[in-house]
Amino acid sequence: MVIDAERCKGCALCVEFCPTDVLALSSSFTAKGYHPPEIVRPEACSGCDLCGMYCPDFAIYGYRL
């Protein structure tokens, strides 16, 4: 999973709809003042790319190796 935090606007759709709860909103800020998601359970990520489908800002995507 790859996150481009500077594109993120903090809507949290990826955090809510991740089927394996990989993500959480970070307490850090982006340059624009939003809280981007961070990966808290990397081992649980299945690479389903659902976060990439939901993200309105093209800021996150998953892939399978």
């Binding site: 903090g10 809510e16 709809f17 659902l50 990439g52 993200c55 309105p56 093209f58 995507y61 190796l65």
Partner: protein
């Protein structure tokens, strides 16, 4: 190993970040659309995206394919001309509910009646997002908009019913919550010969959701999750949208009709014989 974002090759990266609000559903539909193009196998140089004016109208400007950002409501007439002049192009009209059904409503019904070979994707956020949240022909009854501060008393359009009764050969409706189904519907619409129509119900957290006490984008997505009822093949007369009650989603119509181009070629070939000159392929 680094893998590129699948949406990246379809975006004009120099224009990012886009203008859409945090949590706006239009970006989600673009994600699904680009994945649908990938899966349909349509080459990027044979695809044209035409948009009108509005928040969704910006899609044409952000897509790195041949695109056309046209005057308000006139996306379908521009797309018609493009399709007739270049019949081997896949023409997609990507616009909002206000642009397609208020300002451009007349063009939609005639393109569907003629069964022009094009795909229309309508991102329906139930309001005019760019101009300040006015009432559109799709705003549900009782909904509050900037031009209806006490609520809407008009009966809205039922878009799948409108599309079916005018003659569209493929009609589907999904919400931005149903990303996988939306991607599949867009792929089927792209590959369908004739006038295909996909309606996507999308949150407008800044103007519609906030004014109607729905909350932010996440809350609006959760209401889609609880209110949606999947009914493939449902009678489109019964899929009206209200403020509460079920949002019926699914693939409603998939049928065959002669397209405008085929009908024109057959007719003129019969009438004019070898004097008829076909449009260049």
């Amino acid at each position: 190993m680094s893998v590129e974002n699948p949406v990246e090759r379809y975006l004009r990266s120099d224009r990012m970040p886009h203008i859409w609000c945090p949590g706006c559903g239009i970006g989600t539909t673009v994600n699904c659309f680009t994945r649908a193009i990938d899966e349909s196998g349509i080459p990027m140089d044979r695809l044209a995206v035409v948009s009108g004016i509005g928040c969704t109208g910006r899609v044409a400007g952000y897509m790195h394919v041949d695109s056309f950002h046209t005057t308000h409501g006139r996306a379908i007439p521009f797309a018609t001309g493009l399709k007739l002049a270049a019949p081997d192009m896949k023409v997609v009209v990507y616009s909002g509910d206000g642009d397609l059904f208020a300002i451009g409503g007349n063009h939609f019904i005639h393109a569907a009646r003629r069964n022009l070979d094009m795909t229309v994707i309508c991102v329906n956020n139930l309001t005019y997002g760019m101009t300040g949240g006015q009432l559109t022909p799709t705003t549900p009854e009782e909904a509050i908009a900037s031009t209806s501060p006490y609520g809407n008393f008009e009966h809205p359009f039922n878009l799948p019913y409108l599309a079916e009764s005018c003659g569209a050969v493929y009609v589907a409706r999904w919400t931005t919550y149903h990303v996988t189904q939306m991607k599949k519907a867009m792929k089927e619409a792209l590959l369908k010969k004739g006038f295909s129509f996909v309606e996507v119900i999308s949150p407008c957290p800044t103007l519609y959701g906030r004014r109607n006490r729905i909350g932010d984008s996440l809350d609006e997505m959760k209401t889609y999750k609880t209110r949606s009822v999947i009914k493939n093949g449902a009678d489109t007369k019964e899929v009206d949208l209200g403020m509460t009650g079920p949002i019926v989603v699914g693939k409603f119509v998939d049928r065959e009709r002669t397209t405008y181009q085929d009908a024109m070629e057959a007719f003129y070939s019969r009438k004019l014989g070898n004097r008829y000159v076909r449009a260049s392929q």
